[in-house]
Symmetry: C2
Subunit: 407 residues, 2 copies
């Protein structure tokens, strides 16, 4: 039985197959990069047209009240909450992942006076590590990196915060959130989870594991559009005392009292800073609504099935690539990454064939399996393309070695 | 001669009259709140549709290169630059005004070791004052407020930064940028100008006056849409040494090298933090293109003529309200503000008649004159409505005293 026939059977039995029609997917493209930028929900253009032409164009300033712009950040946060095991009032959609990391790292440092260390692992997503640098230059933080098997040992009395990404951006390897959260708490430290590569593809139970803080991305599996607003989670028990340094007017208890003195809003709204980006939030809301309607447990099941089927299909073509993702689907996010010295050129050769994955320096080919809109037929076809690119040494063509600005 | 006949003459002679057609303005509305949320340019919906349906929907991740998403922040910054007397490489469009204030306040503090005071005035726009609070709680800053006539005296050897808003949000009163910038520099302090209520309505010459830093808003006179990205200016002479604490991956010298260590980009890009908000930037670019095409000097001329004509018109109706804006048009931004104990209800009564201004607590009625799309006929009609609301005590109706969430 060929991978293609197997795929036909899987697609026929897939309860999520119908959701593919809810997304715009370009003709001739197999999109294995939804973990970098999620596909466009078909409802998004109309939602944006309504917000732009009717709410902005006709409603103008009145729409802050009449169109609910004022509450968008917390309304969308509440919709993200069930995807990550949070209560609705514990999540807010605002700013970028990077800016939200800054707020929460700084808040954690303020909650653990006398401790300055932020512990993470080398090779964490760059912006997570970089956001410590600014606080370090201000004399407020000290970065400590430990390999993932040495993290527990590195949790000493100087550590204010353990900050990790649940699903590793490059390999997809998952951290044991339960164990690490417990270890951090036992050491007197707080925990901040970056859920950028998890949210909308695999279930997370922030309150179940007793997490303190989390952030995540709006433009990957949540399909919020390029540069979509991000989200942040603060456990209810920390909200009353939380001090974050980006004390802008939208995080004020009474923004329109126009007083000279800052007083943080009582709940999660305290995490807001400037005026909310209404257009970006409007697009994000469509993606979140759609992903939430499908449901994260079903998405996770399909995600695992897709990646397992990809591995099975490349094996059927006798392709042997070094897998840098964990071999067991329960140990990884919704992606498979392979190491090859010519990963860049292989990625370009695949793109030329319409199979869009991505390359992560220096030598990783990363293929993401967004379960909301991929079919098993996509997977079978992608595996065949990869096999041909390798078998025919197609990646050796000079045009596949030219580097673009963003790779 | 009635205000209406005078208006007809002015409109006939107005070289900018034709630009009104480039904006969507709702039927039956006279919009005097473009200083809070600028009107929708008619080209914006099509631009957003292109970005959403073609660049995101069809181009997907490839659009970071092929559609120029990667350079949007600096490209739009370069277009804003001539409006504020800056060089193209000194301005970038990113984050919110609040977040940009934080970056630049913190950067200034790092450039003046031993000095912790950020000097501003009471009653400055709230978020400007609030953004000092977060740094104060971190022990990095000390806020000092002095009334505008005492600012020069308050500039002692402890002041790291003088931070002021050029055109006051509530009264429109302008600061003397030349004199205050010089005074700050003589005291060894740096200067950060908030141009939110200036950019696109009146000329500013940042390099002519030797300013160090500036920020400004994208959703007022620049017509970038609700919650549009803001902009930031750093004088070229400070760019090489600038350290700002929001050290995200898009401010890195090589974001896609994915190294563990932060190294700031060489120029203004160092001010970026997270992934740029592409949808918001796309809308902002349309507004900036249109305002730049009209030209800030012509906009300023019309802005002055509109506010002078409003004052003349209300006088013709024998309306006597306490003007809290400076009486001379050269001393104020593109707005007129009036104090009245019933300002809130008067504002509501005007809105019920289709004249949208706004209320600023506790007792100010604020009318903004966005010169790109208002006609003199609008002004004459607005003056007549105001006269009638006052003469007939229309504001006494109970429904005009109900407060909404955002006022």
């Amino acid at each position: 039985m060929t991978p293609e026939s197997r795929a036909a059977e899987f697609d026929a039995a897939d309860p999520l197959a119908g959701y593919r029609e809810r997304f715009t997917l370009p003709e001739g493209v197999i999109y294995l990069d939804g973990n970098s930028l999620g596909a466009l929900p078909k409802d998004t253009p109309a939602a944006l047209t309504r917000v732009v032409e009717s709410e902005w164009g006709e409603g103008l300033i009145r729409s802050w009240n009449s169109a609910g712009w004022f509450d968008m950040a917390s309304r969308i946060g509440a919709k993200i909450a069930p995807l990550i095991g949070a209560a609705p009032h514990e999540v807010i959609a605002c700013d970028s992942t990077s800016v939200n990391l800054f707020k929460l790292i700084a808040a954690a440092l303020q909650m653990r006076p006398g401790r300055k260390v932020v512990l993470s692992e080398p090779g964490n997503f760059p912006t997570d590590l970089y956001m410590i640098a600014g606080l370090e230059a201000q004399g407020l933080a000290e970065r400590r990196l430990a390999d993932r098997d040495k993290l527990a040992q590195a949790l000493d009395g100087d550590v204010a915060l353990l900050m990790l990404t649940h699903a590793h951006y490059k390999t997809g390897a998952l951290h044991d959130m339960v164990k690490l959260t417990r270890a951090a708490h036992e050491a007197g430290a707080l925990v901040l989870w970056d859920l950028s590569h998890s949210t909308g593809a695999l279930p997370v139970d922030l309150n179940g594991i007793g997490a303190d803080f989390a952030v995540g991305c709006g433009y990957k599996y949540l399909c919020g559009g390029p540069g979509a607003p991000a989200f942040a989670f603060v456990a209810e028990r920390h909200q009353a005392d939380l001090q974050q340094p980006l004390t802008g007017w939208f995080g004020h208890a009474a923004p329109f009292a126009f007083s000279d003195d800052y007083a943080g809003a009582p709940g999660i709204d305290r995490l807001q800073c400037g005026t909310p980006p209404v257009l970006g939030l409007a697009a994000l809301e469509v993606g979140v609504d759609l992903i939430a309607a499908i449901g994260v447990d079903r998405l996770y099941g399909k995600s695992q099935a897709l990646s397992e089927f990809f591995l099975e299909s490349v094996m059927a073509h006798d392709v042997h690539l070094e897998l840098v993702s964990p071999p067991r689907s329960t140990d990884r996010g919704s992606q498979l990454s392979f190491r090859h010295p010519e990963a860049y050129a292989i990625c370009q050769a695949l793109i030329a064939r319409g199979v869009i994955g991505d390359f992560r320096a220096p030598d990783v080919l990363r293929l993401g399996f967004a379960p909301a809109y991929l079919s098993f037929a996509d997977i079978a076809a992608a595996a065949r393309h990869l096999a041909e690119v390798l078998a025919w040494c197609e990646w050796q063509r000079p045009e596949f070695h030219q580097r673009a600005a963003v790779t």
